[in-house]
Amino acid sequence: MADEILRLEGLKVHYPIRSGFWNRVTDNVKAVDGVDLNLKQGETLGLVGESGSGKSTLGKVIVGLEDMTEGDLIYQNEDLNSAAERRRVKYNKDVQMIFQDSLSSLNPRKTIYEIIAEPIRNFDPMDPVDEDKRVRELLDIVGLPQRTVFQYPFQFSGGQRQRIGIARALATNPRLIVADEPVSALDLSVQAQVLNFMKKIQKELGISYLFISHDLGVVRHMTDNIAVMHHGRLVEKGTREDIFENPQHIYTKRLLAAIPSVNVSERAENRARRKQIEQEFDDRFNEFYDGEGMPLPLVQLSETHYAALPKQSEKE
């Protein structure tokens, strides 16, 4: 079994809601509410869920863009809960991010060279000749022509910009990259290109991905293990086969049923099944969620498979 590089324990991110006459904190939005997760070297973990499920917030906590309210972030057996600790060990040299909106994630006033060199200058300063060499090498890796190095982001297509974002993320030889919906803003034809490319560099460089997406088709293509998130908690996690072939939680089943099928002849059948699963989700909601509508704690089903199932079905 590969080495574990990152572990989250009981991670919570709560945002206070202020209301009432005196604007006091009356409640919390529980964006992430007690998540345990681990990532191994070289693995791709898919994090799926609907928008607002807290998956993006979780990703931001992992790269250090968001502070956690409670819990532990353990990177290579070291507790790195505060920004100061992460800065000390140059955490972001190892943990990088690829953003959804490639245009917004590249500063429009900077050249490609400056964009890619930014993390190098901060984490791994080298003399200008080496730096230039490294930037050009990265352009090579992501398959962009050398002459683009002094161009500006708006001169590129969406797919090319996403490659630039990847080159920046790769600049310091990271060990984990959090990819937050990296292809959902791209055209379908370009999506596959970028995804395959991400897989290729993973094989070559041995990087782990935390792949955040709402698109299960993409997730199936990319990941080894999958965690399903709903209402800020994990409802099911396991290997790709566990999730796709043997889903246990009603929410996972519902997500899977929503994948459009290309097979026209089974359209009526698919629709009927979808309806049935929707029905089941509504009927059994109270079984699978507690009184406040929050998912139940995870229960281990097999060595790899966990699901937030009610107590009685555990006995069955």
Partner: protein
Amino acid sequence: MRKKLKIKENVGNGGLLKRTMIREFKKDSLARYSLYTLIGILLVVFIGALFIPRASYVDVNIIDQYLAPMTDGHILGTDNGGHDIIAMLLVSARNSLVIALAVTFITFVFGTILGTITAYYGGKVDMIIMRMTDFIMILPVLMIIIVLVTIVPKYNAGTLIILMSAFYWIGTMRLVRSRVLTESQRDYVKASKTSGTSDIKIMFREILPNITSLLIAEATLSFAGNIGLETGLSFLGFGLPAGTPSLGTMINEATNPETMTAMPWTWVPAAIVILIVVLSIIFVGQALRRVADQRQSV
């Protein structure tokens, strides 16, 4: 042809801004002529004022008081101190422009730094500063400045600059704050954070370059406003001290109905200079603002 275009695109961002500006000024002839006028006036005023001896606008010469234009070699006549109007215009315009420039500079530097920091960090400090500026915005600022002008000991041009700046940085600060706030939401700021760039660098090297064109446009327009403010205060008699003439002090001759009607040459030229300068600045500023808007949409 195509190749040439590519190379041009690679010139750099400074080149890009310059080209957008040149295009805008080529398209808008009003802005173009305003720019020429403005440059012309600035050159004439700053070079011309160098050749005016101090005595000729400080010393009072009662014999030459209120000479009509074209008498004794005074092309535009003289004022109540017997000073040549043209000499007065050059020195006054220089003084007024320098004061307005200084105030614009101070308010923009201060407002930009404070606005950027509060918007970037947000939170309680931001809220407190916003409440404070909300409050100052509704105060009768003009009255307070006038009162302070009259009670500050050892009052001079520097004091006036400080007093004006003390109240007028707020507009800049609020403008910068709102723009930095939207800019901070963009992912490149997050990317810079995960790239290990320090907050100071992110604020001033990443975010600010994205709003410089806007700042240039707004600073230009605020420059026009500051000319109006200084000359207005001087006109009322609460601006530049005696011995440092301003376009406003020249216009002050018009407060006396007799000089206003019988000796219009004492104040009308100064009024016209103010109008021309301010209008040119406004038209240039409008064009710059359009440039900033275009760049925003890139």
